[in-house]
Amino acid sequence: MNGALSSNPRPGRSHVGRIWHSGRHLLPVLTLLILIFTVFAITNPVFLSRGNLQVLLTSNAQLWVVAVGMTFVMLAGAVDLSVGAIMAFLAIMFGKLLNAGVSGGLALTITIAAGALLGGGVNGVLIGRVGLSFLLVTLASLTAFTGLVNLWSDTMAIPVQASITDSIAFGNFLGVNISLWIMGVTFILALLLQSRTYFGRDVYAVGGNRQAARLAGINTERTIVFVFALTGIAAALAAIIGIGRSGAASPTIDNNVPLEAIAAVLLGGTRINGGSGGVGGTALGVLFLATLGNGLSLSDISSYWQQIVTGVILVSAVLFNRLSADGGLKRWLEHRRGRHADSDATPVSGT
């Protein structure tokens, strides 16, 4: 290599151009969000009230936190089906700890650490180090943790009376609800982790091409263990938020949580095979689902419609992203045109 630094200035497009380029995958979900937000704001006078918007956000705090954690797993090319069961397990653990007289802060710390340990140590190690399929492993731990939760709790909800859970659900800090603070801080930390650390780069590389990442010396096993630890931590936070809201640690396993989180991540433009996307899109995906659910219930429309709409939009959004990525839409159109041209020109005389 020649020692002299190149005089070639860092090439680049305009600032706006770069933002547009990197945020392209957010376009469908952003458009949809603005669209339904406007529709609900016009059709329903209650929708824009401060109280309703706060409910809209806080009632989806669990989904938000889990979806942010799930984004890392999905960027790395996997999916975690076990978050719902791990959430219930950690909820029971947190409830039992508090009822045994452990202080709120300590119980919180233990639960979060347990989440990281269960996610990383069970799912992460089996998938990353042992090399089992993520579907197999997370399905197995979903089943196993469901059994554990029911055994441990005798299928009874554990009532929890503690200042920490009350303040998480209903307390305010600087005039803003604590669960909103949790959502915001989770999001910012995730954003920093994703785009301001080598770990973030590793996650994208592992999802983009695990073999190439490994051959470049990246510790892909550790990366996978860590992303599953992140969903474990997210499950712990979600469990604690849930206890705060209901006042009890419930052994009911909500398997909709991982599925809705996956839907939010995909809506937000993260590729299902990993390697591109990010938490910014996930936040929009969650906001979309939250707005849709809230608006429809305000308008007295069955929540089943929400599910139907979500399904249709999910496929359309992913399809749009697939086609618009790397000029795929253009190529597809050209291909169709090319086919026509071919069939016109088939009979060519021999040489």
């Binding site: 090439p11 990197s22 780069r201 994208y204 999802g207 190439a212 051959l215 990246i218 790397d326 060519v348």
Partner: protein, 518 residues
């Protein structure tokens, strides 16, 4: 070429196919005069053979040109279209279900006999037996394919091909994974195919096999048909010349030779890897470029994988600059100063969805604390410097590396290793699928890397590339090193003969014996 007054059985006219900027085929032809012939298709790697076979078997659609079977123009949109017209391909890598029986594999698809709703196993078995008889094979139809040898698996694939009443069977390098006895068994089957008036299109790099079974030949070079004709109008020299081209003097003068007295940067001592490599010893000095030459399956890639720690070494030692290589896995190899440019840049070399920046910096930063922040201002000058020395022009470091051309992608693979300043650079097929200009540039880069004192070990299936690039060339066959030649004394002909000579018992046979045996 076609005999007057007769429509040839199969004719491909003026096939062209482009992949991005690379012309895989540019007006190639192929004619097989009548049924029951064995027709050889030859060409160096990259000459367009695979693309031509892909067109014939319906996997690719040509941009231009047509396929005629008995004078009728056909257009295939899928392999099943081709099968319906009686053209079946036996792929290089066995496409066979190991957990199923011979019967099931032969009749896979639509061949299994049915009674009303269920599969009629006894008549299916009979059907499979009849096909096996046609080929003179005494296999039990209930054997599990898992238990068969590679050549027997191949026979099952051929049986499958003719069970669909194929009239043209394509064998793509069928002998690459077979030993001498197994090759003879295959030839017997080819003879019985001929007896059934089935036409065989036979692809091989081994000249002795071509002369043993083929009736006629087509030779491709650079996507064009160079010559076609009956096999007896050729001899080994004329075939090699047609494949290689007249310009055998493509060599570029190399700089001063590296000093011969300094300690080796890479040293392998009696390396074994079960089933793949047997007793490989070699050393590469700093600044030296050593080539690995050999056919597919000769163990070239496996050797590089062993050195880089992605394949297990069962015995023997690897040392870098006098000290043993660190730990296991690519991580240890990288810490010891070894770099590998893998053969498949899309699958192994690059994260295509990742940006130019993250790909280029990935190796150099692989050992940093993962919670640290990558500082773009520190990376920019490094990237700029790499780009200048690589002569890659980039508009945007943040754009996905998958948007670059093949040649530039390959330079990025090379550059990401240089960012870490390796002591040993392993290159596996460094110019596969790049255009001619990028190839020349990559060669220039490799030479300048060597000139800075890096030991380079290159594996390539293209003999001219090795002759261009290397100081010494090690010829491998069946996991052994069979000859070492100085590149200055070697020619493509000698390399090809050494690599494709029939396998003899004694691995220590010297060069003279090898050339006599062809």
């Amino acid at each position: 070429m076609r005999p007057p007054g007769r429509t040839p059985l199969l004719a491909l006219h003026g096939l062209s196919k482009r992949y991005g900027g690379v012309h895989a085929l540019r007006g190639a032809n192929l004619t097989i005069a009548r049924p029951g012939l064995v027709h050889g298709l030859l060409g160096e790697n990259g000459s367009g053979k695979s693309t031509m076979l892909g067109v014939l078997s319906g996997q690719h659609q040509p941009d231009e040109g047509r396929v005629e079977l008995e004078g009728r123009a056909l257009s295939f949109h899928s392999p099943s279209d081709a099968l319906r017209h009686g053209i079946a391909m036996v792929a290089q890598e066995a496409a066979i279900a190991p957990e199923l029986t011979v019967t099931e594999n032969i009749l896979m698809g639509r061949g299994l006999a049915r009674s009303r709703f269920l599969i009629d196993w006894s008549s299916s078995r009979e059907k499979a037996c009849r096909v096996l008889e046609l080929l003179d094979l005494d296999y039990d139809p209930d054997w599990l394919v898992r238990d068969l040898r590679p050549d027997q698996r191949q026979m099952v694939e051929i049986a499958r091909a003719i069970s669909t009443n194929a009239r043209v069977v394509i064998l793509d390098e069928p002998t690459s994974s077979l030993d001498a006895g197994e090759v003879n068994a295959l030839f017997a089957v080819i003879e019985s195919l001929k007896a059934q008036d089935v036409t065989v299109l036979f692809v091989s790099h081994r000249l002795n096999e071509i002369f043993a079974v083929c009736d006629s030949l087509t030779i491709l070079r650079d996507g064009k048909t160079i010559v076609e004709g009956p096999v007896d109008t050729f001899d080994a020299d004329s075939i090699v010349r047609a494949m290689v081209g007249g310009d055998t003097d493509r060599r570029v003068t190399r700089g001063p030779q590296p000093a011969t007295d300094c300690a080796p940067a890479l040293e392998l001592r009696h390396l074994h890897s079960t089933g793949r490599l047997t007793d490989i010893s070699l050393s590469v000095r700093p600044g030296e470029i050593v080539g690995l030459c050999g056919l597919v399956g000769s163990g070239r890639s496996e050797l590089l994988e062993c050195i880089f720690g992605v394949r297990d070494v069962t015995a023997g030692g690897i040392s870098v600059c006098g000290s043993a290589r660190h730990g296991s896995g690519p991580h240890g190899a990288i810490r010891s100063g070894i770099a590998l440019v893998p053969p498949d840049r899309k699958e192994q070399g690059l994260v295509l969805s990742g940006s130019v920046r993250t790909n280029l910096m990935s190796v150099a930063t692989a050992e940093r604390n993962r919670l640290r922040r990558p500082i773009k201002k520190e990376e920019d000058p490094i990237i700029a410097e790499l780009c200048t020395s690589m002569r890659v022009r980039l508009h945007d470091y943040e754009a996905p590396v998958g948007n670059l051309s093949g040649g530039n992608q390959q330079k990025v693979v090379l550059a990401k290793w240089l960012a870490r300043r390796p002591k040993v650079l392993l290159l596996d097929e460094p110019t596969r699928g790049v255009d001619v200009r990028a190839k020349v540039e990559i060669h220039r880069l490799v030479r300048s890397i060597a000139a800075e004192g890096v030991a380079v070990l290159v594996s390539s299936s293209e003999a001219p590339e090795l002759l261009d690039l290397c100081d010494r060339i090690i010829v491998m066959s069946q996991g052994r090193s069979v000859a070492v030649v100085e590149a200055a004394d070697a020619s493509e002909e000698t390399l090809m003969r050494l690599a494709s000579a029939p396998d003899l018992e004694a691995p220590s046979s010297n060069k003279e014996e090898w050339s006599q045996s062809t």
